[in-house]
């Protein structure tokens, strides 16, 4: 039998080894630098007296200067100040670049290991379609509903659904989109472009928001055609992140409708409700109208004081005969006197300055009434109801939701905002003194429009609406030519900061729906790393030991192969820039257990051949040749399962599948090539009569 030339295989192993080291180096450096970073954070924390969490978060945000937030900055001595400044410069500049460079090539730690938050958002394309439409009617709304119900399957292309629903209803698309001369394919192309653009733009906007929020290594990716996956490792305050990301942040400036128009509308609603209950016939409704019109304003004002004392708790079913669909509210606060003649107004309160307030207990009832289809038809087309952002304290300290009637068409939107930043209310403004607010500066066009609008509407109220909630509705005192506006409200500093961030980053083109969230706290991550490491070390040691015991010297060769195998797996993961998760670690451990299978198959074969009386050299030769077929067939079938797992899996499961796949390939290589080289070497050199196996 001719001697096999091992040179090619030795070169192959060496090349792979070099490649493995090359790919592993960034990971090793990154882990080292991460420790350095932690010490830097700790040093800064002790120098500044700020908590480490704050330093680690803010150090990556370019715009927030830590010096502003360090208490006693002026009292510090020169060297301490210089040190802080230099350290900060380093953290933001050269050091950050270095660590980022390695990070992009290192194995990432999964959120389950380092703690953090994973959000899956779905862009509401149906809403986008609604926004794109030139005109709307009932049929159109019905079709939107149909599209929405067919969109539950993620594999379905939005575009196809739209096409099909319109085709089934036999309605040409140009009735609603673009111009009546547009062809169907033009419109479909337009919708498709807008949809994919909307997802891309949402992704960019979210990325901007998150970058400014300050997360050290966020991962934001598109999944499928309309989903966005956001991973925020080590995020300290999940609730705040959720708020920041989930907001559409559609900012609109809308003028309030005239108070007269408002009270007329309230009366109309009341008339409708009365008629519904059969309290009024068609004939006397005209007379009622005139009476109500004269009454309304004066009556509402004079009654305010008595209202509170005369409130009784009434069951909603008594009030509306149980016909209206309302949530299980135990009782609403009702003005007994008004109840009969004006059931809607009875739910409302006038707290002065034409503000329509709704006691918190009545919120659900009022909200239901104004959203009823019949009531919606009573509302003039150019105005709409909007709620305040939060309940606000009334004169008596009670909490009220404010119900605004605003013009539907915004005077200005968030796209006119050039910059938004947080400021603290100054002393001469008693209400807002010391309170954070968001200062907006508008771009040139925005400032021009704002100037015109304020100039033409002095004395009127201009509401600032964010995501269809009125933030504030200040009275325009004078024309504002500067293009500066303010959003005030009961903000905490963080809320104001986050609002400024979302306004700077701009509004999402369509709302996003949060369809999945997974958050892992840092402790659980630590637990997982700990238990993962322990079980890995113990498991690996046991396998190595049992191989050495069972196959003696040959077992040791297999152990060398096993170690190489491990290096290859980790290096390949680094090469793919893969994420190491807890199931991933389990996958590696399992692979280690299963990897020896190839060696076992070979060794058992060699033993059989030896038993059959073959020489060592011949036994190795045939053993490998025979086992090779078995190994290929058995491992390829396992590989098929692994690939299916990879295709199906998301997040951590994918990590597990990837390690399994890499492990299978690498274990085949190490068993067939590496161990063979060692055994051939021994046989060629010493030509032993017996084999330690």
């Amino acid at each position: 039998m001719k001697k096999r030339n091992p040179l090619f295989r030795i070169i192959l192993i060496a090349v792979l080894m070099i490649a493995a080291v090359y790919y592993l180096y960034p990971t090793i450096r990154f882990e080292q630098l991460k420790k350095v970073e932690q010490t830097k954070f700790a040093t800064l924390a002790s120098l500044t007296g700020l908590p480490v969490e704050k330093i680690s978060r803010d150090a990556y945000v370019g715009e927030i200067d830590l010096r502003d937030s360090i208490p006693g900055w002026d009292g510090m001595d020169e060297s301490a100040r210089r040190q802080i400044t230099e350290d900060l410069q380093d953290l933001k500049g050269p050091f950050r670049e270095t660590i980022q460079g390695y990070r992009s090539k290192a194995i990432r730690r999964g959120l389950d290991l380092q703690g953090g938050m994973r959000l899956v958002l779905e862009v509401d394309l149906v809403k986008l379609l609604d926004n794109l439409a030139q005109r709307k009617d009932e049929k159109f709304d019905n079709m939107l509903e149909q599209i929405r119900s067919q969109m539950t399957d993620p594999e379905v292309e939005f575009f196809d659904v739209v096409k099909r629903v319109f085709a089934e209803a036999n309605i040409p698309l140009n009735r609603y989109f673009l111009t009546s001369r547009s062809t169907e394919s033009e419109i479909l192309k337009y919708i498709n472009e807008e949809a994919s653009d909307a997802v891309d733009r949402s992704l960019e906007i979210l990325r901007n928001r998150i970058d400014q929020f300050g997360v050290s290594e966020p991962n934001i990716t598109k999944q499928g055609s309309r989903r966005i996956v956001i991973e925020l490792p080590g995020v300290q305050d999940p609730e705040r992140a959720r708020q920041l990301i989930g907001k559409t942040a559609l900012l609109e400036f809308k003028l309030l409708a005239d108070p007269e128009m408002y009270s007329t509308l309230i009366d109309r609603v009341d008339r409708f409700l009365r008629k519904e209950k059969g309290l009024e016939t068609e004939s006397d409704s005209l007379a009622e109208t005139q009476k109500a019109d004269t009454d309304t304003t004066t009556k509402a004002r004079t009654d305010t004081t008595q209202h509170v004392s005369q409130d009784t708790v009434v069951n909603l079913k008594d009030l509306f005969g149980g016909e209206t669909q309302m949530p299980e509210t135990t009782g609403v606060s009702i003005d007994a006197n008004l109840l009969k003649e004006a059931p809607f107004k009875a739910l409302l309160r006038d707290i002065g300055q034409d503000i329509v307030a709704v006691p918190t207990a009545n919120y659900a009832a009022v909200n239901n009434i104004i959203h009823r289809k019949e009531v919606q038809e009573l509302i003039p087309k150019n105005v709409e109801f909007l709620w305040s952002n939060t309940p606000q304290p009334g004169p008596g300290g009670e909490l009220y939701w404010i119900l605004y009637l605003v013009k539907s068409e915004p005077e200005l939107t968030g796209s006119a905002v050039r910059d938004a930043k947080v400021d603290i209310g100054s002393g001469y403004n008693p209400g807002s003194s010391g309170m954070p607010y968001v200062a907006l500066s508008l771009n040139r066009d925005g400032a021009r429009v704002f100037s015109e609008v304020t100039g033409a509407n002095v004395g009127k109220q201009l509401s600032i609406v964010l995501d269809n909630k009125v933030r504030s509705a200040p009275v325009i005192k004078t024309k504002i030519p500067s293009g500066n506006a303010e959003i005030t409200g009961n903000f905490t500093m963080d809320e104001a900061k986050d609002l400024a961030i979302v306004l700077r980053a701009g509004a999402l083109p369509a709302p996003v729906e949060e369809i999945e969230e997974r958050t892992v706290g840092p402790s659980l991550g630590e637990d997982s790393i700990k238990s993962g490491t322990i079980s890995f070390v113990v498991g690996f040691f046991l396998v190595v030991l049992s191989m050495a015991i069972y196959y003696r010297l040959s077992g040791l060769y297999a152990d060398i192969a096993l170690i190489l195998n491990l290096i290859y797996i980790v290096a390949t993961m680094a090469g793919f820039h893969a994420t190491l998760t807890l199931p991933g670690i389990a996958g590696i451990i399992l692979t280690v257990g299963m990897a020896i299978d190839s060696n076992v198959l070979i060794f058992e074969r060699i033993r059989e051949e030896l038993r059959a009386g073959k020489t060592v050299r011949a036994a190795i030769e045939t053993g490998y040749a025979r086992a090779f077929v078995t190994i290929m067939d058995s491992q390829i079938t396992t590989l098929i399962a692994g690939v299916a797992l990879y295709q199906f899996g998301t997040g951590p499961i994918r990590g597990f599948a990837l390690t399994l796949i890499i492990g299978i390939i690498s274990s085949m290589f190490t068993a067939i090539v590496v161990v063979r080289v060692i055994q051939d070497f021994i046989v060629n050199k010493y030509d032993p009569k017996t084999l330690s196996i």
């Binding site: 389950d112 959720r242 892992v520 079980s535 590989l639 299916a644």
Partner: protein, 304 residues
């Protein structure tokens, strides 16, 4: 060292007993699945919100439940789980049809208010919308079907069609046994468990192929032996390998089961049982199918 040398166990003589046992167990599993109305899906598939909290001081499930009652989340599931802390962590599972943005905050705030002297840390939040759960169910089934078809095609090409069918039936057997076992024990079917099942499928097929490979080889080599004997001999010849690979893998899984922590506890349990079942099925399901196939098809190939 060698555990098995020249064994001569009549595995195929006991195949009817094995097949009966397997069938009974699968039947029991199916009954359990029907009685319980399907697998016990975790949040991954059913949708809902799961919040795991670690309290500074021990707290009872009842205490947490009564707080949840006050905010009308009384139908939530509350249970203690052994975590990395000195005392058990609390898992709250809120059943809801839609992912409500405020739920987590609501729960956190109310617990914080109700027991201010026992602060807690949020270990984990899992919130899955019903849409996602439905998709994942579809994907899981799809992954199993696709992998089984892929394996069927590969084995039909490399061996014979009956081998492919045998291997796939054996794998399906393993998956059914595992699903039944999980249902009987009322363990949750999560994403990780599905991953474990697929891994078991992979392992089981691997194990079966090793035995089949030897059968294929022995059919050519032992031309005078009956098919019955060929199968028995092949299983005995590969027994040493089967036991060794199986036991090292088991060893590692036992370590994972005991030291791997709460997060992957069920996952390693599934793998642990799965390896045993997968090994069993190669010998007692996959191989007998070849034999039964041969007898039913009636081809006189007993002496090849």
């Amino acid at each position: 060292m060698e555990f098995f040398r020249k064994t001569n166990i009549n595995f195929q003589g006991k195949r009817r007993i094995a097949i009966t046992c397997s069938s009974l167990f699968i039947l029991a599993g199916l009954v359990s699945l029907i009685v319980r109305g399907g697998p016990n899906y975790s949040i991954d598939f059913s949708g809902g919100t799961g919040i795991t909290l670690r309290f500074a001081k021990p707290i009872s499930e009842g205490q947490v439940r009564s707080i949840l009652n006050e905010i009308k989340l009384g139908d939530s599931e509350v249970k203690t789980i052994a975590g990395g802390g000195s005392h058990p962590d609390i898992l709250i599972r809120v059943k809801e049809t839609a992912v409500e943005t405020g739920t987590v905050t609501l729960v956190e705030n109310n617990i914080r208010k109700a027991i201010p002297d026992n602060p807690f840390e949020v270990l984990q939040i899992e919130k899955v919308g019903p849409k996602v759960g439905k998709e994942l169910k579809g994907k899981a089934v799809w992954a199993m079907v696709v992998s089984l078809i892929g394996i069927l095609i590969y084995l039909a090409w490399r061996f014979e069609f009956k081998f492919a069918v045998g291997a796939v039936i054996a794998t399906a057997h393993d998956l059914l046994v595992m699903m039944g076992l999980f249902s009987i024990m009322n363990l949750e079917m999560s994403l990780a468990i599905v991953a474990a099942f697929l891994t078991i499928a992979g392992y089981s097929i691997n194990d079966t192929v090793v035995v089949y490979d030897r059968i294929r080889e022995n059919i050519k080599k032992l031309r005078s032996a009956t098919f019955f004997d060929v199968i028995n001999i092949s299983i005995n010849e590969t027994l040493s390998r089967t036991i060794l690979t199986g036991s090292t893998t088991l060893m590692v899984l036992i370590v994972l089961f005991f030291l791997g922590g709460q997060v992957i506890h069920d996952f390693s349990f599934a793998l642990l049982i799965g390896i045993l079942v997968g090994t069993y099925s190669s010998i007692f399901i996959a191989a007998p199918i070849l034999l039964e196939w041969e007898q039913i098809s009636g081809t006189k190939r007993k002496k090849m």
